[in-house]
């Protein structure tokens, strides 16, 4: 569930990327993602699924008109394209049903976009080099594979079964659909409009309590801050590596400085996450949301949150490091006309 909030936080840092299509289908117990459509005949599941599954994301769709501030996400239909079975759970299935996998392409694309130069910042040739590096490092499939393997190596079987029981339930599928829907680029403006209207139309105390508890049991604000700092640190480290030796900051010093940003960042992220949660789970009743919070607060729910977060951090962190290092090598900082956008705008004077 956290990916949607990480995506929104990263989206606030960077400009949306242009993106190609991503295809998804189920192959036996595995869910396959590709930028190429599946070949005929490879789709085999426990249940009939004769057609290739539809395209998951279409980020280049024009943004929707902003909605009224009080509007929350509308409940999308259940994910009919996902196979539910009583077979032993797999990590792939959990990541699919929970919405991690469907949301990942948008997330990695948004992060990658943060490394793109602003128009005019680099020559066309250098800009092309940077774009190539980003496309290579922020392909969602290898990042997903790294995450899946990471989770699979750490998850306990008993937790996996409990996770599956929850994520296979209709309520969990409804929630995943809401999260996936909110992670689409066209939802961003709706969420901003919704957050702006919160002062005028505050949530009920019970609902606020529920989303605060949701943030608490999942550590979403904290983890979103982690992810943002990982990206900032990777850029800072790469810039340092490319700097002349006599002006090169030491790695540990950079990490300490980045870490010093945490307290300030945490408060801002926490507020955003709460507003986003209020939007995303708006269509749920308090009882439904409470059931979700209860699952996430259970040992299996905690394990799910912790494992997916740690796996995401490692996979994205590695990709971010590789990207930043390769960009710094291909286009040394001196050739960047302005500060990298990932560092955010200059403070107002």
């Amino acid at each position: 569930m956290k990916l949607v909030f990480a995506l929104l936080a990263v989206g606030a840092l960077v400009a949306p990327a242009s993106a190609g299509e991503v295809y998804r289908w189920i192959d036996g117990a595995s869910v396959v993602y590709s930028d190429q459509p599946p070949q005929d005949g490879v789709v085999t599941t426990a249940m009939p699924a004769p057609e290739p599954l539809p395209v998951v994301t279409a980020p280049d769709v024009a943004p929707a008109e902003p909605t009224a501030a009080s509007a929350t996400a509308s409940a999308p239909p259940l994910q009919n394209d996902v196979v539910i079975s009583a077979a032993p759970a797999t990590v792939d299935e959990i990541l699919e049903l929970s919405g991690v996998r469907p949301q990942l392409p948008n997330l990695v694309r948004s992060i990658g976009a943060g490394y793109l130069p602003a128009p005019g910042q680099l020559s066309e040739r250098d800009g092309g080099r940077v774009a190539q590096i980003i496309a290579r490092q922020f392909a969602s499939q290898p990042i997903y594979a790294a995450m899946r393997d990471d989770v699979a190596s750490r998850v306990e079987a008993r937790h996996l079964a409990t996770m599956a029981a929850w994520f296979r339930s209709p309520l969990a599928r409804k929630i995943s659909a809401l999260e996936i829907d909110a992670s689409k680029p066209e939802s961003a403006e709706k969420i901003v409009a919704f957050a702006a209207g919160l002062k005028a139309s505050p949530p009920t105390p019970a609902r606020l309590e529920l989303v605060q508890r949701l943030d608490w049991v999942t550590g979403t604000s904290h983890d979103t801050t982690d992810l943002t700092l990982v990206i900032v640190a990777s850029v800072a480290r790469a810039s340092a590596t490319a700097a002349p030796a006599d002006r090169r900051a030491r790695i540990g010093v950079i990490e300490r400085r980045v870490e010093e940003m945490r307290p300030q960042m945490t408060a801002g992220v926490a507020n955003n996450v709460l507003a986003q949660m209020l939007y995303v789970y708006g269509p749920l009743s308090d009882a439904e949301l409470e059931a979700y919070v209860d699952f996430l607060g259970s040992p299996a729910g905690r394990a799910y949150s912790q494992l997916t977060h740690a796996a995401l951090l490692r996979a994205v962190g590695d990709a971010a490091d590789r990207t930043a290092t390769q960009i710094a090598r291909a286009v040394p900082p001196a050739r960047w006309a302005a500060a990298q956008r990932i560092a955010g705008p200059a403070p107002a004077r």
Partner: protein, 462 residues
């Protein structure tokens, strides 16, 4: 005293201050019997020093000596910069060279006295200062030695060099442990005056958040003027401790502990010396000075290599001195080498198993490495040694939380918040909010925050 007598004293004083005033400035002012380029180099070194380009200043002073090895100004410039940078062998050589070139040169004498104090050669320092006084006309010497405080006060005020000399003498006596002699000197030369409550003034500055330097000076005067003011002497010792003056810090805290009438305070003072000042473990003055200069080179000049070399030398001289180990660990962390940092801190606690701060630092690095069990052991030791260690208690609480020991988390957090609330509540806002959520909803997914606030004077900076 009659008007005529007072005038004589004044005339003698003026003559005296002219002699002494020339001492400190002589290296810069005296026309050097050297080629233009050496004088220019000395001036350039001085400018580099003023601009904070310390390594440049030392290099330039070295070149000045190469150009004119018989120039006292060049030798003193080189000695001064080398001393400032912790290159003590080079400084000693330059000052000795300057003195051999001009055995009666008071500037060279004064610099040698100051340097000798820095490396703990107090007898040599006092001899040099006596030598300076002996070169003054007899009336001036008599005035300096015997004139009453109301004459001394304006004399010192108008003669910074003279005041500097007196202050150095006082420092030497304090560092030698002769507090009575230091106090006598301070009263005689009107550095402090009877009947004034320096202790109250110092406390006011402390409460009013005066600059660290102002607070330090105020407590120093209180320690000199009011031998019975146990708390102020103690605060002075704790300030010295934070700054890295292990030896004088130890003397002051010992003195405050001796003077206090409270048994609890005596116990607290003894514990402070044991867990914060190395107890009876020897720390040479030279090792202490190297450590303090290394800190400056690291923190002020960002000169990690130079600092590392001086920390190593400090440890070679005093292997049981715990504080350089923490800085060696910090340098390793700056290089991104957490394992090396842990090894340095482990060596630190082996060298001084009672060093609270080294255990605290070790625990926090282990915590960052998510080595929960080891972190718990190190931090448990830290808070056993110093239960009011807010940052240590919070860090221990995090280690326990990570291991699912919720009661342990709550106990240590509540203890830390209780200590901090009375001092600086704002510094623990996040842990307070985290605990409130924990108490409301049970354990959350994120680990508790672990700020390490500066709470009490005497327990910081390493």
């Amino acid at each position: 005293m009659s008007g005529a007598a007072r005038r004589r004293v004044t005339v003698a004083s003026v003559a005296f201050l002219v002699c002494i005033g020339a001492v400190a400035a002589r290296a810069q002012q005296r026309p050097a019997p050297l080629g233009e380029s050496a004088a220019v180099l000395v001036e350039r070194a001085r400018a580099a020093y003023v601009q904070g380009r310390h390594q440049d200043a030392l290099e330039t002073a070295r070149r000045a000596v190469e150009v004119a090895p018989r120039s006292i100004a060049a030798q003193l410039a080189r000695g001064g910069m080398a001393e400032f940078m912790g290159e003590f062998d080079e400084a000693a050589q330059a000052y000795a060279q300057a003195q051999s070139l001009a055995p009666n040169d008071n500037a060279a004498r004064y610099r040698m006295a100051s340097f000798a104090t820095r490396i703990g050669d107090y007898d040599r320092a006092l001899r040099e200062l006596d030598g300076i006084l002996a070169t003054q006309p007899t009336p001036a010497q008599l005035v300096f030695r015997w004139a009453p405080p109301f004459v001394q006060r304006p004399l010192l005020k108008r003669t910074p060099a003279l005041e500097q000399l007196v202050e150095l003498q006082i420092d030497i006596m304090m560092e030698k442990g002769d507090l009575t002699g230091a106090r006598r000197l301070a009263y005689r030369h009107a550095i402090v005056e009877a009947g004034r409550d320096y202790c109250a003034e110092a406390n006011q500055k402390k409460a009013g958040h005066g600059s660290s330097d102002d607070v330090f000076k105020a407590f120093r005067l209180a320690a000199l003027a009011q031998p019975e003011s146990a708390d102020c002497i103690w605060w002075y010792g704790q300030w010295l401790t934070d700054e890295g003056y292990m030896r004088l810090g130890r003397l002051m805290v010992d003195e405050g502990t001796r003077v206090t009438g409270s048994a609890a305070n005596k116990e607290s003072g003894n514990r402070f010396v044991r867990i914060r000042l190395g107890g009876t473990r020897p720390v040479s003055k030279r090792a202490e000075s190297l450590f303090m200069i290394a800190k400056q080179r690291y923190l002020r000049d960002d000169d990690a290599d130079g600092a590392a070399r001086l920390f190593d030398e400090s440890l070679r001289l005093s292997p049981a001195f715990a504080r350089p180990y923490s800085y060696k660990a910090r340098l390793a962390l700056d290089d991104g080498d957490r394992e090396a940092a842990i090894r340095w801190l482990q060596r630190g606690v082996e060298a001084d198993p009672d060093s609270w701060r080294t255990w605290h630092n070790l625990g926090r690095v282990l915590l960052a490495a998510q080595r929960w069990d080891e972190a718990e052991r190190a931090l448990t030791r830290a808070v056993e040694l110093f239960p009011d260690d807010v940052g240590g208690q919070l860090a221990l609480a995090r280690a326990l939380y990570a291991r699912g020991d919720w009661d342990g988390y709550r106990t240590h957090t509540e203890h830390a918040l209780g200590v901090a609330r009375g001092v600086r509540g704002e510094s623990v806002r996040e842990p307070t909010e985290f605990l409130a959520k924990f108490q409301r909803w049970g354990a959350g997914a994120a680990l508790p925050p672990t700020p390490d606030p500066r709470v009490i004077l005497g327990w910081n900076q390493d």
